[in-house]
């Protein structure tokens, strides 16, 4: 059985990489806006920087 909390933490870390943000930004009760970046290790659904993306 996978560790639910660990899995969630690691996934938020992955999203933070992709949204140029911090993991805690995704669960904060506010909107964080960043400019796009595409460092190594992101999920690649497009080779272009996102124009708009929200999670």
């Amino acid at each position: 059985m996978i560790d639910k909390a660990k899995c969630f933490t690691e996934t938020m870390r992955q999203l933070a990489l992709e949204y140029n943000a911090k993991p805690e930004d995704f669960t904060a009760n506010q909107v964080t806006a960043t400019t796009p970046a595409k460092p190594d290790g992101v999920r690649l659904y497009s080779h272009e920087l996102p124009f708009f993306q929200m999670a």
Binding site: M1, I2, K4, C7, F8, E10, T11, Q14, L15, A16, E18, Y19, N20, A21, D25, F26, A28, N29, Q30, V31, T32, A33, T34, T35, P36, A37, G41, V42, R43, L44, Y45, S46, L49, P50, F51, F52, Q53, M54, A55
Partner: protein
Amino acid sequence: MVITANEVLHPFLKEFTGDTERFKHPYWLFELPHLLCIERELNKYDYTLSSTFHMFLPGKPRKARVIPDAFTLKWFDKTSVKTLYPNTDFPNALSEKENPDRPDVLALAAYDGDEIAALAGASADTDALWQVGIDVKERYRGHGLGTTLVSLLCDRIEALGKTPFYGTVLANLHSQNIALNTGFYPAWVEISSFKKEETKG
């Protein structure tokens, strides 16, 4: 809630999302009237919104599943999965062709004789996060094949030390039920954008 966006959108986003009366909870941004406001802004730059993607992570015990007697199972690894290309019948389970950005690394098929009735597949979207997809041919639906294959596939992914995740769209309740029945829970929602001349999502 995080938005990553081209700098030209930031003045709009600052004003729009700064309305704390309207957005007491940031997730309200995903409600259709608010998405339409964002859509209108994107249209000024010839962009349009994608579908919303509803993403699931594993978090609950998975029931043991057994394939119905009428079907046989076959596993495909990252090498043998290539024998299924070009893939047109199972677009959620596998890429159409080899995709180095998100390689298909594991698949499980349920066969009715020589015919694949259902296929579950996993792509290594990152080294650690493997996305699971499932397709069941229409005439084979209602046998629990989708739930069984996804469940067995996720067991194998976790045994390999990887994390399965599952994504679907808002109105695909059948797909969402497969996720819920295989130990996943809703973890996050995503939306993106694309140039209007492209056809996506």
